[in-house]
């Protein structure tokens, strides 16, 4: 009998919680839209003095000062955790109003976002570099607002190259292998070529190599071609020429980009594909480095990999649409975008901010990255299935380069997963 009492109590509790669940759901849509804007953004930094929070707090303060009655509710989440946190928020209908993170298209698939036209004034929108604006279009309309961008180039350690007798940076794969062999023979660096195909960023390194062989993730029609012949050949080449001869990390599939970057900045890597943040790391580590175009199979890549991070506005957030628009217009000024880009050596995405940074001699070291940007190619970021496929590539794509794996089998498996994911959309 007492059990029954307990059971009834439990049922009551569960019901109460269930009811409050419904209540919570209604609140999101029905409640009067407010002037408080909930902003969730990624933290790119690794300590308090370079935390993205510093930037956002200043923007929020300025915005509140300039627009009395409006309030910004900031939530800055570590880069490595933000996507998980945002999924939790969406799953519980606890939407942010403005989100800044790495991807946007999966939210378009669920019709969660405002169109860019709804939340940016025409002037702000016109200021966005067209190539990026285009990458923000999914399902026939613009939803993603680019936030910052970066391009990839080949970094090499000058001291290592001269010790190994490599006269100039490689432009073809054969030259990469040759230079790596010389570095290895002269023991000029622990890791001649750093190939980080671990879960952190496998989708980036993979694409840079595949593009060198005329491959890539999708065909012209946007269909996934993860296991195309050029892609399989790329990994076969990597296995035979870098991995098996021991000219890179022994297990690229479990080596993360952070490790490669840190090793390069400690002078332990001969060359690697890198991102503008390496410039500062290398300078801090007093490594004399050079940059060059990324080598392809027969010649340097004319269009390199470009990556953009995104801002987006949620329809079901609690804030008023005009408040969101006010905030985004306020944030997307030259001053703010340059300030953020400078914090982490990114490149801004609006025409005037790019012009300002390019003209500033302080940023001379970023010149090669700016030059590469106009022709850069992107991931299929505007495909609504891309986020899932990217996660699959991160998890197991690197295995295609592992000594004892068959690249074709690994890529076939990925292709199947990609097709399933695309079909599920």
């Amino acid at each position: 009998m007492r059990n029954r009492v307990v059971a009834t109590g439990a049922a009551t509790l569960v019901m109460a919680l269930g009811l409050s669940a419904c209540g919570g759901g209604d609140e999101g849509g029905g409640e009067g839209k407010s002037k408080t804007i909930k902003v969730v953004a990624a933290d790119y930094g690794d300590k308090a003095s370079n935390a993205s929070k510093i930037f956002w707090e200043k923007v929020a303060k300025d915005f509140e000062a300039a627009n009395s009655g409006y309030k910004v509710d900031l939530q800055i989440i570590n880069w490595n955790d933000i996507d998980k946190s945002v999924k939790n928020m969406i799953q519980t209908d606890n939407y942010p109003d403005v989100l800044q993170t790495g991807g946007y298209a999966d939210k378009v698939a669920d019709d969660l976002l405002y169109k860019v036209d709804d939340v940016l004034s025409p002037a702000t929108k016109a200021n966005i570099v067209p190539a990026f604006a285009k990458a923000g279009e999914a399902k026939g309309a613009a939803y993603g607002i680019p936030w910052v961008s970066s391009s990839r180039v080949l970094f090499y350690n000058k001291k290592v190259f001269s010790a190994a007798g490599v006269a100039k940076p490689p432009t073809t794969w054969a030259e990469v292998a040759d230079a790596a062999k010389k570095i290895s023979e002269k023991k000029a660096a622990d890791t001649p070529y750093a190939l980080p195909l671990g879960p952190e960023e496998a989708q980036g390194e993979t694409l840079m190599w595949e593009m060198g062989n005329g491959g890539g993730y999708t065909d012209a029609a946007g269909k996934y071609t993860l296991n195309s012949a050029p892609n399989v050949e790329t990994f076969k080449w990597l296995q035979d020429n870098l991995v098996k001869p021991g000219l890179t990390y022994p297990n690229p599939a479990s080596t993360d980009r952070k490790t490669a970057f840190a090793d390069f900045a400690a002078g332990k890597v001969g060359m690697m594909n890198g991102h503008p943040s390496v410039v500062k790391m290398a300078e801090d580590g007093k490594v004399e480095y050079g940059v060059a175009k990324i080598p392809g199979r027969t010649g340097p890549l004319e269009s390199t990999l470009g990556v953009a991070d995104w801002t987006m506005a949620f329809k079901d957030g609690k804030a008023d649409k005009d408040a969101v628009k006010k905030f985004l217009d306020f944030t997307y000024t030259k001053k703010n975008l340059v300030a953020f880009a400078e914090m982490y050596n990114f490149m801004p995405v609006t025409t005037d901010a790019v012009a300002e940074m390019e003209a500033n001699p302080k940023h001379a070291s970023l010149k090669p990255f700016f030059e590469a940007l106009p022709t850069a190619k992107f991931y299929p970021v505007n495909d609504t299935a891309w986020d899932v496929i990217s996660a699959e590539i991160k998890k197991s794509g690197g295995k295609a380069a592992s000594k004892d794996e068959d690249p074709k089998a690994v890529l076939d498996d990925l292709q199947k997963k990609a097709e399933d994911a695309a079909a599920a959309e």
Binding site: L13, P199, Y249, S396
Partner: protein, 315 residues
Amino acid sequence: MSLKAPPSPAETGGGRGGRAPRPVSRRSGLARLGPLPWIAPVILLILFVVVWPVVELIRTSFLRVSSSGKVRGSAGTDKYTKLFGETDLASVLMWTVIWTVVVVVCTMLISLALAQLFNQRFPGRTVTRWALIAPWAASVLMTAIGFKWMLNQTAGVLNTLMLDLGLIDKSEDWLGRSETAWPWMMAVAVFVSLPFTTYTLLAGLQTIPGEVYEASRIDGAGTWQTYRHITLPMLRPAFLIGLVINLINVFNSFPIIYAMTKGGPGNDTSTSMVFMYTLKETDIGESAAMSVVNFVLVVVLVLIFLKVSRWNEED
């Protein structure tokens, strides 16, 4: 530390059967409510914080959740079908079993030895016992990150040490391949499980009265015989507590593998718990299904264990 020959709760129940069970008094007031005032807070807290999310979890495993986190509707049993169709599932489950068995067996054996050792009188016993606490006091996550750091190929101190001792001829990427990553991660798992287990057994040892040993010595039993026929049987309750707790903890262990290899490359070093977590990145519903399977597995595991060890047997 002090599980003074802990009779398991169930054993106590059985034991009470011997004493005349005290009937719930028929007085007024609180007593009329019987056990409720005493146990209700526990039940409420468990229902509220544990059971409710479990219900939520089971519900999620039948939902179609998009990669953005949006619930798109019911999935029926699709997510379970998808989960059981995963090519890696079989090997993940197999490794989960190997992981649990190897780590628990090593932990229990080493802890038995450590408990014997630290039960002796010797100078500095207190201080050395404190040292034993370190892996317990430090969060498992931090310890795992520390080991990952020490095993790093470029600068890890363990690589340096092994190079200098001539054990290896070139720096190894220990965590990069499943063949070398598994043993290291198992070692770390044993390392962090030792303190609790050893202390449990130590407490058990201290409850064995000295006279029992005297008697055995007078009977002329050798050291090993004494250990086998007297110490071990009397340690049984403490041993079982340590065993069950370790079984559950090691099976559910997450931070070690997640911090050291993230279960990779691919899923080569995933246990079911890590596999569940990485599935979240691609399919939340399927991940929830894996959690449910995981839970069923641990319940079955523990029930089988309880049956086999006759934990619940009335005295």
